[in-house]
């Protein structure tokens, strides 16, 4: 069987799977996150077969890891996940723990970890993995302001993702956003666990500890940006509004800045 036909079949298979999994999604190429406000801004959810970037400060690395693991779990709950990481990031912020993944409701059996010695090898491996249509998602975890992850590299990843239908998730820790071709860009921080209230009379020791993220969408190619508090529901495997959270930390801007201004800023930055 020719490879073109194989990939067509794989694409169709992937589509059917997505329809079956998320029957309520607006678009076949979108996966709903579960957080209503964020899904509305994203026009139905996170785009598959695209590149998404998640930035975090160095000490927030575990939070960002949890957020990106959640995104990967939403994008492909049943297909293999390749996680490419640099050696340095494991020293700096610890290895991905399988029991931790289980606790988040994700399946460690689907995970293949690549321990790349440096950024170049990590980037190349990720590009290679993105070309393989048997995968659901590829996570590329890079520590620091990597010179190699420029506009060209980002474009390559975007093209590879679009061709194979695999979603690329970039986890950038201790790095400043640079111009890229990513579909969305997030900055993630840890948020406080919701305070226990009389309306939620759970046992005090179990009332907190669920992963809560302060997720700021700072770039969205096809819509406005925003900032939300999201909680990852480990049992249902989706994001949601935290039940007992007082108020959003920041008001959502009505529209994102004008396109031309944004691009002008980016050119100066790059």
């Amino acid at each position: 069987m020719s490879s073109a036909r194989t990939s067509t079949l794989a694409n169709l298979r992937g589509r059917i799977e997505r329809i079956e999994t998320h029957g309520d999604a607006h678009d076949l190429n979108k996966v709903a996150l579960g957080h209503a406000a964020a899904d509305a801004v994203l026009h139905g959810g996170l785009a598959v077969a695209a590149v998404h970037e998640v930035f975090a400060e160095g000490h927030q690395s575990a939070t960002a890891t949890g957020f990106i693991a959640g995104l990967a779990g939403r994008v492909s709950p049943r297909r293999p996940l390749v996680w490419v990481r640099q050696d340095f990031s494991e020293i700096e912020s610890g290895a991905l723990s399988m029991s931790g993944l289980c606790e988040l409701g994700l399946d460690p059996r689907l995970l293949v970890t690549v321990r790349a010695p440096d950024t170049d090898a990590a980037l190349r491996t990720a590009a290679d993995a993105l070309a393989c249509d048997a995968l659901g998602a590829v996570v590329l975890e890079v520590w620091g302001q990597a010179r190699q992850l420029d506009l060209v590299a980002s474009r390559k990843l975007t093209l590879a993702a679009a061709a194979s239908g695999v979603t690329a998730l970039l986890l950038r820790m201790a790095a400043e956003p640079r111009p890229s071709t990513a579909e969305t860009r997030w900055i993630v921080r840890a948020a406080h666990s919701p305070p226990s209230t009389p309306s939620m009379p759970a046992a005090p020791w179990s009332a907190w500890g669920a992963p809560v993220f302060d997720a700021q969408l700072i770039r969205n190619r096809h819509g406005p940006v925003g900032r939300w508090i999201m909680e990852w529901k480990c049992d249902e495997c989706l994001f949601s509004e935290p039940a007992a959270y007082p108020q959003p930390v920041a008001a959502t801007p009505a529209r994102r800045p004008h396109q031309a201004q944004a691009f002008g800023y980016q050119r100066r930055a790059g």
């Binding site: 069987m1 949890g66 610890g94 293949v112 995968l135």
Partner: protein
């Protein structure tokens, strides 16, 4: 009878690149005496011989140039020559310190017959400055015996006894004691020894020597022990003009991959380990192995694996003046079970994933791409075993992980430090309680929420498994960061210092929650 070729390189050559006016020798210390280990033609003419003490040699020939023997380098040189000899036959055996056996059964005709092969081998080696002595005979020992006196002999079947009979007994290469004993008994040539009854020889010199003698006479054979196991499949290509450019090399490699796959396909085999050998014109040989997770049966996959591997080499393939032989061999193969591909989506996906893993492993190494298996232990850092994905993909897909408890927040951190990192805890109000603040990586975190302790004792029933019990706490700080910290050791069981504080209680951060 298979004809082994024996090469012996007994003396330092009158090299092309180094020429000495004075006789020169190499000496080594044996039995507390400095003896001649090797010598050149001029030294032989001056009357020196191997085994002569250096002092005597200097007395005979005062203008002697002396070098120290370097046995490691000698061994390395012999190995390199054996690598080079791989181009003639895959069965090359070492006969230290100076000899090589080549089993040329079925190979000689490729090089124009035995005579031509002998000339090619000894010609090429002499041109590089080695003094070489070669012979072809039906047994390895017979061939070796012949090389000790003169080079270039080819002995037909059944003529071994006649050929070795006039040679002195020392040519057999037996122990010095045996050789001396034979001389003392008046048996000067191998023919003399052979003419005596075997039982006499055995009784006097042992059964081992009789066996050696019979092999030299062509009456019994011992197989040589080749350096490398024989690969299951070999294809190779020779070039009259050496090839140097990457494109040509890659093209030939993919053509060879096609030939290899055709050969394997006939017997339903797929390759698990492949080796590409590049023979340079100057004798250097570079072998590049590639391992695969499942049997490879497609030429384009082999081609791609080698392209990845060659791309990622730390010291790239150096063609020098060109390669004149490229060989591709499958050193480990497996029977391939053909699966129906068109309808079963999982089979297709698994194949694709395995191929991807092989490609990545070829580039960055098999140990760097891993899957995870659960370990039956409650020690957090050893609960997971990371194993190479190439070999354990199927096992990992079947692994049974502990189920999470419904409607509980995560009890285990998402990122775990391989080595727990020490933190500074100023004081704990309750002896067994959690800290109110701690300093980790020079940042002080104030504890807002605490859950714990969860007590994990070390595995005292294992050897070296005995350690302090750990009390784990889940902590949330004022910024919302969630940590997994533990106290190493219990308060009551620890010896206290003069201020009443336990001496060795230390705190660590072990993981970070999402």
């Amino acid at each position: 009878m298979p004809p082994p070729l024996s090469l012996t390189l007994p003396r330092k050559g009158g090299g092309n690149d180094i020429a000495f006016d004075a006789p020169s020798v190499v000496v080594a210390k044996q039995h507390n005496a400095i003896l001649i280990y090797a010598l050149d033609d001029l030294a032989v003419r001056a009357g020196l011989s191997i085994g002569l003490p250096l002092a005597n040699a200097r007395a005979i020939c005062p203008e002697l140039t002396v070098f120290d023997a370097d046995e490691v380098a000698d061994r390395k040189t012999l190995e390199d020559i054996a690598d080079w000899c791989d181009r003639f036959t895959p069965l090359v055996a070492l006969d230290p310190p100076h000899g090589l056996y080549l089993d040329i059964t079925g190979c000689a005709h490729l090089f124009g017959g035995e005579r031509a092969l002998l000339q090619i081998v000894s010609g090429a080696l002499s041109r590089r400055g080695f003094a070489v002595s070669a012979a072809i005979a039906s047994t390895a020992i017979c061939a070796r015996t012949l090389t000790r006196h003169g080079s270039g002999k080819i002995i037909a079947d059944g003529e071994e006894a006649a050929a070795v009979a006039p040679l002195p007994v020392s040519a057999l290469g037996a122990d010095d004691a045996i050789t001396a004993g034979l001389r003392r008994a008046g048996l000067k040539t191998i023919g003399d020894v052979a003419s005596r009854g075997r039982h006499e020889i055995s009784a006097r010199f042992g059964a081992g020597f009789t066996t050696l003698l019979e092999q030299a006479l062509g009456q019994g054979d011992a197989p040589i022990s080749p350096r490398k196991p024989l690969p299951d499949y070999i294809v190779e290509k020779r070039f009259p003009d050496p090839v140097t450019t990457d494109t040509v090399i890659a093209m030939n490699l993919s053509a060879l991959a096609g030939m290899l796959v055709t050969a394997m396909d006939k017997q339903g085999k797929g390759a698990r380990r492949l080796e590409a050998s590049f023979f340079r014109t100057d004798g250097a040989v570079r072998t590049i192995p590639v391992d695969t997770g499942r049997p490879v049966t497609r030429a384009d996959m082999i081609d791609r694996l080698f392209r990845e591997r060659l791309d990622a080499l730390n010291d790239p393939l150096d063609p020098g003046f060109g390669f004149d032989l490229i060989r591709l061999s499958a050193s480990r193969t497996e029977i391939v079970v053909q699966q129906q591909r068109d309808l079963d989506a999982n089979v297709h996906d698994n194949d694709e994933l395995a191929a991807l893993i092989d490609r990545i492993a070829a580039r960055i190494g098999g140990k760097r791409i891993v899957v995870h298996l659960p370990e039956d232990t409650h020690i957090p850092e050893s609960a997971v075993l990371a194993v190479p994905a190439q070999h354990h993909l199927a096992a990992a897909a079947q692994a049974a992980w502990p189920e999470r408890i419904e409607s509980e927040p995560p009890l285990r951190p998402l990122r775990l430090f391989d080595k727990p990192e020490p933190i500074k805890v100023p004081f704990a109000t309750v002896p067994d309680g959690p800290p109110h603040q701690f300093t980790w990586r020079r940042v002080t975190h104030a504890v807002v929420r605490v859950e714990g302790p969860e007590r994990i004792a070390m595995e005292w029933w294992k050897q070296n498994g005995d350690g302090p019990t750990r009390d784990y706490f889940r902590i949330e700080d004022e910024a919302g960061l969630r940590f997994w910290i533990f106290r190493d050791g219990l308060y009551e069981s620890e010896p206290a210092d003069e201020e009443g504080e336990p001496a060795s209680v230390r705190w660590f951060v072990h993981g970070l929650f999402a």
